[in-house]
Every structure is written in structure tokens, then in C-alpha cells.
Amino acid sequence: MSREIQLRDAIREAMSEEMRRDESVFLMGEEVAEYNGAYKVSKGMLDEFGAKRVIDTPIAELGFAGIGVGAAMNGLKPIVEFMTWNFAVLAFDQIVNNAAKTLSQSAGAFSCPIVFRGPSGSAGQLAQQHSQTFEAWLANCPGLKVISCIDPYDTKGLMKSAIRDNDPICFMESESSYGFTGIVPEEEYLIPIGKAAIRREGTDVTLVSFNKMMIEVNTAADELAKEGISAEVIDLRTIRPLDHHTIVESVKKTNRIVVVDESWPFAGVSAEIAYEVQKYAFDYLDAPVVRVNSADVSLPYAPTLVSEYLPNPRKIIQAVKSVMYQKA
């Protein structure tokens, strides 16, 4: 049996199922327990699992991320929620210098099976400090795995895999898409980390994206189809390890690629994909790799500036036309 649920429900189901399955899994973060989550992701979990396993922290990201790392090194499987990834910046020391390095510096004596999760990316007019994406920042760091998706089916399966995984994982959701719905079966399933999904098959151009930019990409692909342009759409789902095989195979078929990434352009996920494609599909490319990113600036508050800043279907269509050498 399947039913339509929201992204927030999918994440909650994944966490709850894994907590029922494994006593060592627990959830910790700001407002996750009594308030039922700032975005209601953990709604009802305190009631089911009690205060020992669903834990409200003070606002102390560095401290509770570190407590998560220590607990993970000592046999537990923490899920650490950041209200948003913007605030996880305070905890980067524990994520980057500790979670990511534990296995290497202990030469395998200690591992750090932990999931750091929360929303990444802009969510309306929230201005400079509350609108950032963190996939590229963390995917740069060996030792971490990075997942970023909003499709409820994928997110549930990936979250379950992430909690079972024995390496440290950064899981990026989307504040403005927690209400995004999808069909999810009631039966248990897992989605493997590190595999992209082909959302729609196409022949003229490959569109690669992830997280909430998938919504913009799908809209653009619909528009392009009306104009007779057939786009193959790939949802990366996992950022690190990156599934370049799926991307490269698609480009071999379409010979053109546009990467759509909410992150800033410099040294971002789109840059990495462009590198992989030129390396492994150089002879197949009929046009340079083109990317659509957010603007190379901090995001201001005013609505006119927000719409100028973000990727949107218009910009994506324009990019597709440019790789197809068509007039916009």
C-alpha cells in the first residue's frame, strides 16, 4: 500500500522506524522534542520514544554536535538535527575536524556513525545569514558523505540508509519544501547512498540538479517539451559520493548538459560535475557544459533581489537553448 505524504513525514518515518529497529539510535537538537520540531519534522517522536531518546538541546551547536561525535565514537548512533544548516556552521569544527577524521586518525580503531541533518538553502526572503546552501562546503571534505534531496520517497529510503551507515553523514533537506508531497509505500525499503535517479528520459539535453532546484528543473523540462526539446532529468540525491557514471552515460546519449545548483558557482557541485563530464565524456559533448547557479553574492532581503538571485525555469530554459545553439 502506498500513500501520499509530505517530506517532513518521510523524514520522521525514517527516523522513527530506525529508532524502533535499533536502540542505539537517538535524536538530538533544538526544539526537536517538546516543540515537536521547528518545522514539525519530529512531531510525536517525544511521545513515542521518550526524553531519553528525543532530546531538546540548548542553542549550543558546537557543543551538541561534539556530544554527538563522542556518543558515536562510543557505540551510539546519533541523529543530530540542526534547525538549519546555516547554524551548523558553528559546529563545523566537530563535523569537519572530528566526525570526518575519526576513522583516519585512529587508523580504524574508532568510527563515527552519525547523521547530521537539517534544511539547507534559501526559503523566501530570509536574507543573508539564513539562505545558504552547504552541499559544496561539506562535500569537499573526505570522510563525510553528503545527501541532499526533497523527494519524499527518496528521502525516506536515503535517511534510513544514512542512519544505518557507519560513516558520518550530512543530510540536507529543504525548509520551504517540508510540505512537498510524494507517494511513499508503507512497506519498508532502502535507497542506496551514492546513486542518482533518472527522473525523466530524454534525448536532447541532460539536466542535472538536486534538492529543491529539482522543482524548477521539472517545470523547465515541461516547458521545453512543449517546444519539442526532450530533456533527460537527473536528480543527484547524493552529492558525495557523486554518481558521475549516471551523468556521463546520459551525456553520451544527449551530448549536452546543463547543471542546476542553488549553491554559489565558485568551486561548487556544478563545477565538480563540469570537470567530470569534460574528463569522461569530452568527445561526446556538442556544447560546453553550462550551469545555472544562484548569483555569486550574498542573498539580500528584498523580493526583487531574491528573484534575481535564484535559478528559475526561465534561466534554465535559456541555458538549455544556449547549449542547443538556439535563440532564447
Binding site: A38, I59, A60, A127, Q129, A302, T304
Partner: protein, 342 residues
């Protein structure tokens, strides 16, 4: 949150030196902030204002008591619940409302919005959206004042939730070791979002965090501008004498939810009522009349002027334009030909 223990009147015998003028200034400023934000909430409801919007309603006595006790050359830095602090500093209602609207005439050209007003001319170092980030920044602002040998101090404000960030300890330690002219103020309004102070620590008396650094520290009744003013005057004198930081935990209350989207279900109606009964604006209004510092007519005149000011601010914001799309690439670097990636 337990009711504050500082309800009793200022000690009798120690006759207050506050002038009628100051009482009237407090009243006017508190009313201006209150009415400004009530209107902002209304305009938020009409989607003229977007994003996060955290109002200061209930906490106005803190802003009032600070401004009368420091000078305009002193600096202030605070968090995102900051409209009232900025207005107290002297940011006009027009510029503040236009900022909330995201208009180019806003105090920060519509780029910062509700959480981020900054005004150099008012020595206002901004509203910060990252909880606790401004605590060491405030110490740094004070560092610069000391470096330049001024007599100015930096009022560094943060919430009860922010008091649990590690940055507080690092800033407290260095600023005490270096005797920086910084006045730390924790506005304890009882909650960090839905989390009461008692649930965040073994030490619910936040002022005691100063003790570990031998920083002078006290709790103050934040529902009374006079109590705030007196505590800050004393602290400021200590700081200006070169003796280093001071820490005040000012006990206050926010009547509304954490932000526009919070229904505030984690507290009782009685608790909210208890504080509203001690509303600093109402209490002072009664005092002004009772002690014949103002007539009913004079109070009405103030109220009318405040209403006109807020009406005008909304009109100003409505009539102003949004920033042009090209503004996206301004104010990111001072280098004017910076090569942005496109």
C-alpha cells in the same frame, strides 16, 4: 517561566533622580516602538512584510532604559529582535518600516530586512541572525573603542537562549582579561523559541554566568525603564572608569510568539497576563498622570503624534520602490570592479 523576583519598588529613601523629561522620553520611545511593531505585524498579515519577523512587544522598557543611560557615542549590537533597539538608537520609523518592506529607502536599502538593521551614524552595529554571534563581536567593538582611547562602551545584547552558546564564555573571558569597555546585557524574556530558561541549564540565573570570570553581574527588572536605567548607569560608570566589563541579566517578557509563525503554545495565558498586567507603557502612563507629570490631554497628544508617525512610515514604505535588480551586485565587495562569476 517563574515570575521575576524583582517586583518590589525601587528602594524608598533613595529618592529617584529621574526627571519628568526622562519619564516622558521613556514613555514616548516605548510607545513609538510598540505602535511601530503592532503596525508591522498588521502589514505582515497583509504580506507587505515577509521573511522572519521577531517583535519586541513587551520588552520596550529595556530599550528605553538603555538609551537614557548611555550616550549616542556608545555602541550597541544585538540580535534579530531589534526593531526597538534600532528605533531607540535614532533610526527613523520611515527608514525602519521601509526596510521591513524591502524598499530601497529602508535603513539598509531593503537588503537586510527585519533581522538586520545597521546604522553607522547611530553607532548601531546591527541585528544579528546567528544566535550568540554578536557576543564576541560586541567585545570586539569595545576593543576598538579602548584601542582608540575613547570613553565609549559597547552595549552587547543577547537573549536567554544565546546565553548558552560557547561564544559567550570565550568573549567573557577575553573581555575580562583585557578589561574591555563592554556592557553585556542578557534580555531574559523567559524563552528561546519554545524552550524555557529552566530547560536549558542547571543555572537558570543567567547573571551568575559572570561569576566564573569574576565579572560584576546582577539581575534587573526589565519591565521598568527606571530599574533598567539605574542598573545601566551604575554599570556604565564602572566600565568608563576602566574597570572592564559588566553583565546585567534583564528580566523581561515577550507578549507575542517567538516570530510571526509561532503560536506560543508552550506557556499559559495566565503567565502572559501576569506580565501584561505590569506592562511598562501602561504602568508609566498611569504614573505620569497620577504624579501629575502629564495631563490626559498631553498623553493624548503623544499618542496622536505616535500614530501619525507610524501612519507616515507606512505611507513612506508603500510609496517607495523596491531596489533595482542591479543592486544584487552592489555591497558585496568594496572593490568596484570585482569580477563576479556569472
Amino acid at each position: 517561566m517563574a515570575p521575576v523576583a524583582t517586583k518590589k519598588k525601587a528602594k524608598s529613601g533613595n529618592k529617584s533622580k529621574v526627571s519628568k523629561k526622562t519619564y516622558l522620553e521613556w514613555y514616548t520611545l516605548m510607545l513609538r516602538i510598540r505602535k511601530f511593531e503592532e503596525r508591522a505585524l498588521m502589514m505582515y498579515g497583509q504580506q507587505k512584510i515577509r521573511g522572519f519577523c521577531h517583535v519586541y512587544i513587551g520588552q520596550e522598557a529595556v530599550a528605553a532604559g538603555i538609551e537614557s543611560a548611555i550616550t549616542k557615542d556608545d555602541c550597541i549590537v544585538t540580535a534579530y529582535r531589534q526593531h526597538g533597539i534600532a528605533i531607540g538608537r535614532g533610526v527613523s520609523s520611515d527608514a525602519a518600516m521601509a526596510e521591513l518592506y524591502g524598499k530601497e529607502t529602508g535603513v539598509n536599502k531593503g537588503k537586510g530586512g527585519s533581522m538586520h538593521f545597521f546604522s553607522k551614524e547611530h553607532n548601531y552595529f546591527g541585528g544579528n541572525g546567528i544566535v550568540g554571534a554578536q557576543i564576541p563581536i560586541g567585545a570586539g567593538i569595545a576593543f576598538a573603542e579602548k584601542y582608540r582611547d575613547t570613553k565609549n562602551l559597547c552595549v552587547t545584547m543577547f537573549g536567554d537562549g544565546a546565553a548558552r552558546q560557547g561564544a559567550l564564555h570565550e568573549a567573557f573571558n577575553m573581555s575580562m582579561a583585557w578589561k574591555l569597555p563592554v556592557l553585556y546585557i542578557c534580555e531574559n524574556n523567559g524563552y528561546a523559541m519554545g524552550t524555557s530558561v529552566e530547560r536549558t541549564s542547571n543555572v537558570p540565573d543567567i547573571y551568575k554566568l559572570g561569576l566564573g570570570y569574576e565579572m560584576p553581574c546582577e539581575a534587573v527588572d526589565g519591565m521598568d525603564p527606571e530599574a533598567v536605567h539605574n542598573a545601566i548607569s551604575k554599570a556604565a560608570a564602572h566600565i568608563r572608569a576602566g574597570k572592564g566589563p559588566y553583565f546585567l541579566e534583564i528580566k523581561t517578557y515577550r507578549y507575542k510568539g517567538h516570530s510571526v509563525s509561532d503560536p506560543g503554545k508552550y506557556r499559559s495565558k495566565d503567565e502572559v497576563k501576569e506580565y501584561k498586567d505590569r506592562d511598562p507603557i501602561n504602568v508609566l502612563e498611569k504614573k505620569l498622570i497620577k504624579e501629575k507629570m502629564a495631563t490626559e490631554a498631553a498623553i493624548k497628544k503623544i499618542k496622536d503624534a505616535v500614530k501619525a508617525e507610524v501612519d507616515q512610515a507606512v505611507k513612506f514604505a508603500e510609496e517607495s520602490s523596491f531596489p533595482d535588480a542591479s543592486e544584487l551586485y552592489t555591497d558585496n565587495y568594496l572593490q568596484d570592479d570585482y569580477p563576479f562569476l556569472t
